[in-house]
Symmetry: C2
Subunit: 131 residues, 2 copies
Amino acid sequence: MNIGAAARQSGLPAKTIRYYEEIGLLRADRAANGYRDYSTEDIHRLRFVQRARSLGFSVEECRQLLSLYSDRDRASADVKAIAQEKLGEIDRKIAELTGLRHMLGHLVSSCHGDDRPDCPIIDGLAGKVTH
Amino acid sequence: MNIGAAARQSGLPAKTIRYYEEIGLLRADRAANGYRDYSTEDIHRLRFVQRARSLGFSVEECRQLLSLYSDRDRASADVKAIAQEKLGEIDRKIAELTGLRHMLGHLVSSCHGDDRPDCPIIDGLAGKVTH
DNA sequence: GTTGACCTTCCATCGACTGGAAGCCCCACA
DNA sequence: TGTGGGGCTTCCAGTCGATGGAAGGTCAAC
């Protein structure tokens, strides 16, 4: 299967698949004409990576997960540890964004937003505390 | 004031201040010896940018905000529009992360996490639906 | 034989820094 | 007056995860 079909089946752009190959995340056989050639197992791996990336795992974590994916004897605890670490990161990010949301929301709601120049948002950013 | 002191007072690393100057976000006078020289107004602008960045505004948005900051006659509505757009982005990010959190949390909690090899997290990433 | 889609490699770019090298400058202390 | 150390300068490279584009080879249909 050529890279275009692999891209359609995995949900990853062809460019990205080549990039993953370049950084050694996934490699592909080559047909006689030099084209990359993907097996159904390759497609599974591509989809696996696509899902893991979309769940917020970094490329390096995908590398780890792929090797755990391929290792039929690894303990599920090894996988769970990575996923839990990632869960913690996601929670931290959500908390951070929620904090931002409160601060910015406060500034926005205190700004009358008309054609007058005084603006609590600018004042807030400038360090003048507004209540 | 030299860049080191400006860095301490603004909370931005000196490297970052130089970078901001390089991209034309903020510029600085030069002393006779070629050192950058910051006034208190420069420090205000640096702190302004530092706060805006930490609230999730991009550098380009900081550029806009800075010009609104400097324009004593602009309408507060102009500022509010930018801030509201950013608020929407933050909300979308939070929603996305919350979705991820649910999915990954589901996978993690369904994995027994011991030394046996079967693992719903890997199965989930591999596309095998687990309930 | 000639389109046009698809494939290849290679190089550049994005955002927002960050690290490091090489070389001035300045001040305190001996 | 010399020396040491810290701070400053510029410039170049690297980060992460792609993405865009150029130049050129391949393939299948008409």
